[in-house]
Every structure is written in C-alpha cells, then in structure tokens.
C-alpha cells in the first residue's frame, strides 16, 4: 500500500499532472482553438466589414445584415438548403434503420452484404457525383434507359428545376444510408439478447415489439444519427458542385455553394462571412433543438 503523501508533495503531483495533461492537449488545442473556434469568432467580426478583393476592409457595422434581410438570393438558398436537409435526413435515417434491421441477423454471407452496403460512403463524392450526373442524363443515362424498357420517357432529371434537388438528395441518401446503417447495427447489437429474442417468437407482434421496445432503446443511436446527418446535410457541397453547380437557375444553390460563390468567385469576403454566420446560426439551432427534444423524452436512461 502507498502511504499518504505529505500535502506539499500531493500538490506538486497535482501540478505535474496538470502540466502533463496540457502538454498532451497542446497540439489539439492549437487545432481546435486556432483552426476551428477562432475562425468562428473571426467570421463574425468579418461579417461587420465591407471587404472586396484588393479593397481595404471597411467597418460597416450591421450593414451586411441589413442587406441580408432583404436579399432574396440568400433566403432562397436557405430554403433550398432546408429542403435538401428535409429530404436527406429522414431519407437516410429511415433507410439506414431498415437496412440495419435487415442485416442484424446471423445468416450466411451477412458480413459481405454489410460491406457492400457501406461502399457508397467511401465514394470520392466528386467522382461519384460525376457518375451520377451521367446516370441522370436524360438521353443516354442509365436511369432513363431503364425507364425506357417500360416505355416510360424519363425526364431531364438534373436540368429540371423541380427534379434537380430531389435527384441530388437521392445521391446523398444513396451515399450515406449504408454508413449510418453501421451505427444502427451497433445500437441493435447493444440491446440485451433477452429483449431481442422476443421479436422472433411470433411474427404478428414483431411490429409492436419494434415500436415499443427496439425503437425506444435505439434512441441514443437515433439522436447521434440524426444530429450527424443534420449537420452533414447542411454542409453538402461536393456532389452539388459537380452535379448541378447550384442550377438549373438557382434551384440547387444551397447555402454552402452560395458562400463559396460569394467568397471565392466574387471575392466579397465580408458579405460571404455574413451568410456564413447565418448558416452557422441555423445549424446551431437545428442541433440544439434536437438535443433538447431528445433530452426531454429520454427520462429512463441513466448515462454512465
């Protein structure tokens, strides 16, 4: 047994431990504070400036925000982003949960099926965006060729203002359903075996079992999947960049694309920063409200 050390040595030990801890943290502190948090502060400051390429930054207070309020393009792009999120998040979540239920069985070849379903997630988004562009091509694309087999004349998916967004969102769902399936699969496998078996006893009550037992127990996984997907789909950029470039018209011009456009094509750093702040605020509200909603409904769970 160790004897109790004198007070002074204990304090010295605690001091040493703090030094060690901060030494271990040092690189990530530079990264997190310097390259993630500081930029957020800077972007807020920049949003108060009028700053175009080569010009001297000029403090304009809330002028950018006043412009923002009446800027139809910005609000349009926020709505477009919201539309995208509202297709992608439920689509990905439901599909990945269904896939997880499907592969959560001890059957032959199951691990190969799981692996195949995750493959879309590894796609280099830019590259696969181009493949999908081609699949959606109205004349020679695989999709319309396929529809043609049934005598259906497929539409021009990506050049129709109405269909472009759902098409791009479908690619997002395709890409992330298998990846999110992994988290639901892990969640399902964490459910105690005794509770799991009940569902296989009789088919009639399996739906009820799912909604009353499985789904509530999956709530932590659900929260994780929902939040990461909401954050992820608010940030969608790569696929849209190669598939539609925000078009046709501005029907797929999501907020990230608008910000990129304002900052790195029009070089209007000040105004682009203002839109960034707006986007950040929206993501923040969306994330926090999910936490609050789940927190309120998850009463039985004691986190360990």
């Amino acid at each position: 047994m160790l004897r109790a050390a004198p007070r002074r040595t204990r304090r010295a030990a605690r001091y040493r431990q703090t030094v060690v801890a901060y030494a271990l943290l040092a690189p990530s502190l530079v990264g997190v504070l310097g390259f993630l948090l500081a930029p957020v502060v800077i972007v807020i400051v920049l949003s108060l400036f009028d700053w175009k390429l080569l010009a001297t930054p000029e403090f304009v207070g809330l002028a950018n925000y006043r412009k923002l309020l009446t800027d139809g393009d910005v609000w349009h792009s926020m709505l477009v982003t919201l539309y995208y999120v509202l297709i992608c998040v439920p689509g990905t979540t439901i599909l990945s949960l269904l896939l997880a239920l499907l592969v959560d069985r001890k059957l032959r070849w199951m691990k190969y099926f799981r692996a195949l379903l995750v493959i879309p997630w590894m796609a280099t988004p830019v590259a696969l965006g181009l493949v999908w562009t081609w699949i959606f091509d109205p004349g020679r694309g695989a999709l319309n060729q396929f529809l043609g087999l049934f005598g259906i004349a497929g539409p021009a998916w990506l050049s129709s203002p109405l269909l472009a967004m759902p098409s791009v969102a479908a690619v997002h769902i395709w890409q992330f359903a298998g990846y999110n399936m992994l988290f639901f699969l892990a969640g399902l496998q964490n459910i105690p075996q005794s509770l799991r078996e009940a569902s296989s006893l009789d088919g009639a009550s399996s739906a009820k079992h799912f909604f009353t037992i499985t789904l509530p127990l999956l709530r932590p996984t659900m929260l994780f999947v929902l939040i990461t997907n909401v954050i992820g789909s608010f940030q969608a950029f790569d696929t849209i960049f190669v598939m539609t470039e925000g078009g046709p018209g501005d029907s797929t011009e999501v907020a990230t694309y608008l910000i990129y456009d304002e900052a790195f094509r029009k070089f209007d750093f000040g105004y682009a920063s203002t839109i960034s702040v707006l986007l950040f605020a929206v993501v923040l509200i969306a994330t926090i409200s999910q936490f609050v909603y789940f927190e309120r409904r998850t009463t039985y769970e004691v986190s360990g």
């Binding site: 972007v43 493959i119 879309p120 696969l128 493949v131 969640g187 954050i231 986007l279 950040f280």
Partner: protein
C-alpha cells in the same frame, strides 16, 4: 424460412443498387477507343482497353495520386496521434478546465467547414501558406474532435487497474499510454484511422480553395477539373474515379470487422 429468402432478396437488390454506379464506372473506364464516351457503358463490343487510363495519366493524374496518398498519410497520422494524446488526457487525467474544454471540443463538431473557410484562408494568407503543403495540411491535421470523442469513450472503458499496476512499477503517463492503453485499443484506433483516411482522401473544398498550382493538386480537385479541362471525357473521369476508390475499398474490406465492433463498444451515448 420465408423470412430468410425475403431478407436475401431485399439484400441482393439493395447491394446491387449500392454498387451499380461502380459497375458503370468499371465498364466505362475500360471502354475501347472505338466506343464513344456517349454510348451506353454496357454496350457489348470491343475488348477492354486501358486507353482511358493512358489519357488520364498523360494529363498529370499520376502526380495527383501521389500527392493525395502523401497528404492523406500525413494528415491522418497527425490527426490520430494528436487525437490519442488529447483523448487520453480527457479520459484519465483530472486537470482544471477539463470539462469545459471537452465541451468546447465537442461543440466545434457543429461548425460547418464552409463557415471557417474564409477566416482560414485569410489566416493562411497572413502566414504566407496559401498554395503550400503546410497550408493544405495544417488546419485539418491538429484537432479532430470527432476522433478525440470516440477515443475518449473507448479509453474510459478500459479498467484503470491495468494502468495502475504499470504506474506503481514506475511507468510514466506516456509509457502507460503506449504500452498498456494503445494495444488494448486496436479496434477503435483502426476505426478512427479508417474514418480519417476516407475523409482526407476524399476532401475537396479546402484543397480546391487553398491550392492553385498543378503540382499540388489532389485527386478530388483533379477529377472535378477533368470535367472542364478535357471536355467531359467520361471514360477518363471514370478511370480516375475507379483509381480513387480502390485504396479505400481495400482498407475497408480489411478492417470491416474492427469497425462494426468498435462502434458497438463505444456505444455512442
């Protein structure tokens, strides 16, 4: 019995759907010079050809590939090592400010990269790092809250007693970490590394903004530019996409079982 065949049927269709674009990619990438890129990819005809790959590598793709491999390796190594150090401090060392800092780290997960893009670009400009390797790698290399979070959860699940024994024998913190904790953490390390490799290999927006010279171009940017630079040479684009995918595919197939297990262990509370 009926349920089982139903499961298989749905899985086969689902998997076919998941890999169909890759199927197109392969067929198109190996299409012969006699077949136009405009025609259907599965049109039977000439034998496979590597002409598209020749065109691809003729226009600098080999360089992008090497760049991407080196940059991915460098960033991933940094991310994983620094995340291990931070996660260990959060998991095991009581120090003033720990909880606050941990929440700060977690909250940065909510920051969309595009929001930090402008300030980061201006910072790199101030530091003279625009269009340099350092400028490309530094911002993503140091702090990855996601990896830190996953590793911390895992480290906390390892019994403290194992470490205490080593510490009583006189091993320091870093020694304990390297010789006791890390060997026990193999599944989560593999997972975190795989996630980092996929993200870094595929990253697009930051490389697009921060680099401009061709000798520093990465795969993603290269493929996106092929679209405009050589017209839409779909065959070459598909050949490039195929090459971009293969390393990730191999990585995932090798480490699949670790990934599912570690996701289960960390529990994702």
């Amino acid at each position: 019995m009926k349920l089982r065949s139903f499961t298989y049927a749905v899985l086969v269709v689902g998997c076919a759907f998941a890999i169909f674009p890759y199927f197109l990619t392969v067929l198109t990438a190996f299409k012969g010079p006699g077949q136009l890129s405009e025609t259907l990819p599965w049109e039977p005809g000439l034998p496979p050809s590597v002409a598209a790959f020749d065109r691809l590598f003729g226009s600098g793709f080999g360089g992008y590939l090497v760049n991407t491999a080196l940059v991915t390796a460098g960033i991933t190594l940094g991310q994983v090592v620094f995340a291990i150090l931070a996660a260990y401090a959060f998991a095991r060392l009581p120090f003033p400010g720990r909880d606050v800092l941990f929440w700060v780290y977690l909250s940065t997960l909510m920051v969309p990269p595009v929001v930090t893009m402008i300030p980061l670009y201006l910072m790199m400009q101030k530091l003279g790092l625009v269009d340099t390797w350092a400028g490309l790698m530094l911002p993503t290399m140091l702090g990855t809250p996601y990896a830190i979070f996953l590793l911390r959860q895992f480290f906390r699940s390892i019994p403290v007693e194992l470490e205490d024994a080593a510490r009583i024998d006189g091993a320091g913190r870093v020694r304990t970490l390297v010789s006791i904790v890390l060997p026990l953490s193999r599944p989560i390390l593999v997972t975190v590394t795989t996630l980092a490799v996929v993200a870094n290999w595929n990253s697009f927006l930051w490389p697009l903004i921060i680099t401009s010279s061709e000798d520093k171009r990465l795969l993603s940017v290269g493929i996106a530019l092929f679209k405009s630079e050589i017209g839409v040479d779909y065959n070459a684009v598909m050949a490039g996409s195929l090459i971009a995918l293969v390393p990730l595919l191999v990585l995932f197939i090798v480490f699949q079982r670790f990934i599912v297990r570690s996701v289960a262990v960390t529990g994702l509370k």
